[in-house]
Symmetry: C3
Subunit: 150 residues, 3 copies
């Protein structure tokens, strides 16, 4: 039978907000794991919940393998197949890359929720955090972080 | 190098639960940004984390552009392409719109996590919150809100 | 006009972390609702926010209908159509099931956020929590739970 084991219990005293600005260079994944990890540690909170929120409708956040870079290549190809560029969209005034970017953002999502334990995100061995730029041109992307705990 | 800038720090004292009932009129997106925004402000909490949870398996929540209504039209067409109505589903007893509705709900998700700062959701300029009805017929959809902070 | 009704207000005092290990037997959905539900109740917290986080890049979490098992069958078929096994992936060293597993994990996500009220998750009548194994072979999957509230 499946059973949840309790790992730790504690109080809740504090919350901290942060901002991460990421300059993108057109379509692709940009790893943000280290920047987020350093900030989480620097807040001094040991246990809690981290939320990362992307304030855009054509860039998204996801967690994926940080080992083989080919995974990121195949992911971008998959997005292209799931929301093709040339699908006869009604919304086309902002360019042929805009509507597919909106759909790809919906499919991958704009927020991540990650438990923090002992001052570190509870990521698995192969998990990395990525901002995904879905537009052709470079953009400055604005991420808001929220950490609550103690 | 990417660096997270700390915006604010504070205590955590309170949580509030709310419910939003939405009557849908068949497939389509219904914006809930204003209703949620007014409630967040009315709770009096200035900083924290907002969660919106949709208690259904054939309706979902997403964040998308609130400017051009054509974006919502293209999104519904995209859902139709990603989870076609006529794909020979085994589960068909609840009608031809039911199984595609389940798949579309999985793809877009049933919860949103949004940081709150200065009494407002930290949404980007073009971001709106939407309930998506994936069934053909009208339904009353039940959303639970949770705000934690101070 | 849409209006959010406040259901309850209270303090925030505690957080608890838990771990759920799930042994999978190849591709498929494994329901974890009961295990999570029992743990939430056992923590003694009555109101709060539950987060479940999957520490893997080829297994995901989702909420779906827990009534007709055919829904799970159709969902696996849908994942197979959305991220086909034989799509000429560049990343192929870990086997033909690995890259599609990564894409399917991105599409469904690795975390769930669920409000807790009166000691119970605020799930709808038909909602069940599932771990989805996307690899062919059995794996031990590691889920971290975080509950914050009072």
């Amino acid at each position: 039978m499946l059973n949840v084991e309790t790992l730790s219990e504690g109080s809740v005293t504090q919350q901290v907000n942060g901002r991460l600005l990421v300059d993108t260079e057109g379509q692709g994944l940009i790893e943000i794991t280290d920047a987020v990890s350093r900030w989480v540690f620097a807040t001094g909170l040991l246990h809690g919940l981290l939320t990362i929120f992307c304030r855009h409708t054509s860039a998204s956040l996801l967690i994926q393998e940080n080992a083989d870079p080919d995974v990121r290549l195949d992911l971008m190809t998959a997005f292209d197949r799931l929301a093709p560029r040339d699908a006869g969209y009604v919304h086309s005034t902002e360019g042929p890359d805009d509507m597919p970017a909106h759909i790809r953002t919906v499919l991958s999502g704009v927020s991540l929720s990650i438990p923090v334990m002992e001052g570190q995100m509870a990521l698995g061995t192969w998990q990395g955090l990525y901002l995904v730029e879905h537009r052709d041109r470079p953009h400055r992307r604005d991420l808001i972080l929220h950490l609550i705990g103690a």
